[in-house]
């Protein structure tokens, strides 16, 4: 019996090659998209679940108030975790991670610069689960100068030799002995490390930070990532409830003095990746995008299923006769339903196999695009294959059942009298409705793609209030090189390609320094946390800031290096100074009792510039002359002479004995780095829009082919009665034209609404949605749509009416 159904299904498929191919292609593309998004989303939502105790591990976080300014950080003061453990029996273990960028690592005479090395407590492997590859986890980080490597780092440093017991020199040649090797940190971990070094090392260094000091001041310095492992059955809320007593004991008196307060926050580790929106956090995912992608995956699957239903019912007329005959010779309705569903199942099964193959082919490209490292192993695992098989078959049953019930309901008498096709009026509207939905989604996606790319252009081209072009930024990591910053700058300026240069603690898009200072108010000085840049005399000039009031720093004034400060417009406004900012006082660097510090007067107000990405609004910022060289040197070169300038800078870099390899950042790109997510979304939208459009076009192709077939008689009659081929083409095109136009009319408000929401919630500065972007998307859909159907339309319109009017 089953064999019978299968045979008939295969035969039917072979007979309708065109429809079968359309269906299989559509379903395969739908399934591939679905699998890829599924894998992506699954990876994103299972972050850090590989730790055995992940349900008991929390990352503790900070919520600070300084003056009137609130900020939440992913890091906590250094003594926070151990102090919590002392006070709260609910906490079983704590572990802290302190990292540094760009650490110089030496093995023998080989040098490496590493970013994922952390000093950590010896408890790390009691809290987290990392499979051991070599050595022993027992006391592996207990002794000072111990290091644990990951498998890849061990391979990189020591090749195939046994790494255990070997020496690694880190930072300023601190010696570490390898005590263990653990497996590489899984891709879906929010904290990825290449090596862990024993924190006790620090305490044994002259001037080194004591990891275990609990001095009150240390509770007010932000510092490390810290995790707590709760004892079984304990709740993190218990700790929150009891935290006020803790605050009282450890932090309050100093906090009151500096007009600050602190509150403890925590996030279970598996929630960190998608839910964290904190300052100083490790790279995290984005929950909103996960939602968008999940919806898109379901939609694409829906579109592909719609195609199947659409084409299967479209063929109903042709198959009506078969149904009638089968019924006459005794087929029951049930059997017919089973037969039609098995046809759908066969088709989905083929699509299932094809999509598995295609997914594994596309996986590397997908990894590049998504920043994941998914492997074929994930797809080949039995539970995934089974799950996905079940999903495919479900699609088969669902999309097969409508045509099955519809087809099997034909009455044999009517069918054999030739009336079957006429039942199709409602059915025809359903089919059009389905294609309408497909085009609706496709057009929404096209509009989204165009608008997102418009927004990206806007982000890149907006006037930021400073001159971001023709400038590079150098990091002065090497401390002895940094000491020579002034001489280095003078040296650079000798080159004709270099226009100006400056040294500063920050540049636009790189400004993390925020500090409490005293700001002049009506009749008192008031504490405020303000973002600041310490710089040299040439900083405002090199950046191209525009002064709206007052003047730039001036060496000839004699006192600017200690007594002058330049602020932005927003600062003038928020400090309540308005137009009268010049001459107002700011005291920076005072002691806790407000004594001492550097009292400066405002000498100039610059036009607001976007020193953060356009996601953020402009805040007050101040700049003043730094007593010593700072971390960044910015060099502005003549338009078109970038290469000459860079060559000269590199040469000077080496002449000054910089121990670091030459490296630089382009000022304009530093800003654009913040738009990585948008860039990725833009690419993804383009792909998704193409896929949805493609599936919609398959649907349209099926519909047009069906329309052409089912209207051949009408077309014949019209031609016999005087219609020329052109008249018929117009008639058919018009129908699809309206279909696409109506989809467009529905799509436009939905797209605009959604995109406006997105832009308003993600950006402070955003582009308008241009009417021509929207019109363009409609035009694209229309032209591609009409081109798709033209084959069938032309064929139907030029057919000889004699053929179509022949009656059997």
């Amino acid at each position: 019996m089953l064999k019978n159904y299968l045979l008939s299904a295969i035969r039917n498929m072979a007979k309708n090659k065109f429809y079968s191919a359309l269906n299989i292609i559509g379903l395969t593309i739908g399934l591939v998209t679905f699998i890829l998004i599924f894998l992506y989303v699954r990876d994103e939502i299972t972050y850090d679940q590989h730790h055995k105790n992940y349900e008991r591990i929390f990352r503790i976080e900070s919520s600070f108030r300084i003056g009137t300014k609130y900020d939440n950080f992913a890091i906590v003061p250094l003594p926070m975790a151990p102090a919590l453990q002392l006070e709260f029996p609910e906490i079983e273990k704590v572990v802290r991670f302190a990292g540094d960028d760009n650490l110089l690592v030496r093995i023998g005479d080989k040098e490496y610069y590493e970013n994922h090395f952390y000093y950590t407590d010896s408890t790390v492997f009691d809290v987290f689960t990392h499979p051991l590859m070599a050595g022993s986890l027992d006391r592996c980080l207990a002794e000072p100068n111990s290091i644990v490597l990951t498998n890849s780092s061990a391979k990189k440093y020591f090749g195939n030799e046994n790494p255990i017991g070997r020496i690694v020199l880190v930072d300023n040649d601190i010696q570490f002995k390898v005590t263990a090797v653990v497996a590489d940190v899984l891709e879906n971990s929010h904290l990825k490390f290449d090596a862990l070094m024993s924190a006790s090392t620090l305490a044994h260094r002259p001037g080194g930070e004591d990891f275990n000091s609990m001095e009150p001041m240390r509770f007010w310095n932000i510092g490390v990532y810290a995790y707590v492992l709760l004892s079984p059955n304990s709740k993190i809320e218990t700790i929150f409830e009891k935290f006020p007593q803790f605050y009282e004991k450890y932090m309050k008196s100093l906090g009151d003095q500096i007009n600050a307060s602190f509150d403890l926050k925590a996030t279970r580790i598996d929630k960190v990746h998608l839910n964290s929106k904190l300052s100083a956090d490790l790279p995290t995912g984005n929950n909103a995008y996960i939602k968008i992608f999940s919806i898109v995956a379901l939609f694409i699957l829906l579109l592909a299923s719609i195609n199947y239903m659409n084409m299967a019912t479209a063929r109903a007329t042709k198959r009506a006769k078969e149904v009638g005959l089968r019924k006459v010779v005794g087929a029951e309705r049930k059997q017919l339903i089973v037969q039609f569903i098995s046809e759908a199942l066969l088709l989905t099964f083929i699509a299932y196999l094809l999509s598995l193959a295609l997914t594994s082919i596309l996986l590397p490209d997908f990894n590049t695009l998504s920043g994941k490292s998914l492997t074929f192993g994930v797809i080949a695992s039995p539970d995934f294959l089974l799950l996905f098989f079940a999903i495919s078959m479900l699609i088969g049953v669902i999309s097969g059942s409508y045509p099955a019930f519809y087809l099997s309901s034909f009455s044999p008498l009517k069918v054999l009298k030739g009336h079957a096709g006429k039942s199709g009026k409602a059915n025809q509207w359903l089919r059009r409705g389905l294609v309408l939905i497909q085009f609706f989604i496709a057009i929404v996606m096209i509009i989204a793609t165009i608008v997102v790319s418009d927004q990206l252009d806007f982000l890149k081209n907006k006037d930021l209030g400073f001159d971001k072009n023709n400038a590079v930024v150098l990091e002065m990591q090497d401390t002895s090189f940094r000491k020579q910053a002034v001489a280095f700058k003078e040296h650079l300026l000798q080159n004709p390609s270099i226009v100006s240069a400056c040294n500063s603690s920050g540049v636009p898009s790189r400004n993390l320094w925020i500090q409490v200072m005293l700001v002049e108010q009506e009749n008192e000085m008031k504490e405020m946390a303000v973002i600041l840049t310490q710089c040299d005399y040439d900083y405002p000039k090199t950046m191209g800031f525009k002064f709206v009031e007052g003047r730039d720093f001036d060496k000839n004034m004699g006192t600017d290096d200690t007594a002058a400060v330049i602020i932005n417009e927003t600062a003038a406004k928020q400090f309540g100074w308005g137009e009268e900012a010049i001459g107002k006082k700011i005291n920076y660097g005072m002691e806790l009792d407000r004594s001492g510090g550097r009292v400066m007067k405002v000498i100039g107000v610059v036009k607001d510039y976007n020193f953060n990405s356009l996601h953020n609004k402009i805040e007050p910022i101040i700049m003043f002359i730094s007593p010593q060289p700072r971390f960044l040197t910015t060099v502005r070169y003549k338009e078109g002479e970038k290469n000459q300038a860079l060559e000269y800078i590199e040469q000077s870099w080496k002449e000054f004995g910089n121990k670091r390899p030459f490296d630089y950042k382009i000022l304009s790109e530093m800003q654009e780095e913040s738009y990585g997510a948008e860039q990725r979304i833009s690419t993804l939208f383009l792909i998704i829009a193409s896929i949805t459009l493609f599936i919609a076009l398959l649907g349209l192709l099926g519909l047009s082919s069906f329309t052409a077939e089912s209207r051949t008689r009408e077309i014949g009659i019209r031609k016999v009665n005087g219609a020329l081929t052109g008249d018929i083409m117009l008639l058919l095109f018009r129908e699809f034209f309206w279909l696409i136009l109506i989809s467009f009319a529905f799509a436009v408000p939905v797209a605009i609404w959604q995109l406006t929401n997105w832009m308003e919630s993600s950006f402070v500065y955003y582009t308008q949605i241009h009417w021509y972007s929207v019109a363009l998307s409609g035009l694209v859909a229309l032209i591609i749509g009409l081109a798709t159907i033209s084959f069938h339309v032309v064929r139907a319109a030029s057919a000889n009416p004699v053929e179509s009017l022949k009656y059997e």
């Binding site: 006429k422 008689r713 009408e714 014949g716 009659i717 019209r718 031609k719 016999v720 009665n721 005087g722 219609a723 020329l724 081929t725 008249d727 030029s798 000889n800 009416p801 004699v802 009017l805 009656y807």
Partner: protein, 226 residues
Amino acid sequence: MIKSVDLTRIFLTEEVETTALRQVNFNIEQGEFVAIMGPSGCGKSTLLNIIGLLDNPTKGKYIFLDHDVTNSSERQRAKLRKQNIGFVFQNFNLIDELTVFENVEMPLIYLGIPTKERKQRVEEVLEQMQISHRKKHFPGQLSGGQQQRVAVARAVVSNPKLILADEPTGNLDSANGEEVMNLLSDLNRKGTTIIMVTHSQRDAEFSHRIIRLFDGQILVENFQSN
């Protein structure tokens, strides 16, 4: 008006060659009423299709209204057709989705006649065919006889010189059949040339002349005097 010289039509389908018409010669004058008779499959419809410029002869020559259309393009033939020929079929060939009025109006639309004039002419013709009370109905709501009257109305609405009818009474009972035949002879009396394929001797008696086909060839031509 119409003249054929050695008209031959051969169909090629899947290696089978069917000669539907074999060197057929005839002349039809303006104002004639000609019936074509013969057994099923003898080539009657094929001949009518060629006369109606819906099909091309394989060999021979066909002259329509002094135009040699043997080698003219599909577009030229379509233009000649819409200006000069009306068709009536055995199975009516009305469009189910259009009303009676819209069905009849169709040829006028393709002739580019303005709306107002179209309305007037359709009303007139429907009146003439005594079907105007049904103009808002759809074909499915009409009896066979009524449907054929609509089809005749559509064929004549553009005042064609020639009406081609392929077994117009084949699907009708005798009363309705006779009514349609009366309509056709009325039209003929007013000057329209009519060529009609029929199986019925009774219908053929309405004509001036009967062409009898057998196996693709003209067997006899009978002139009748009525």
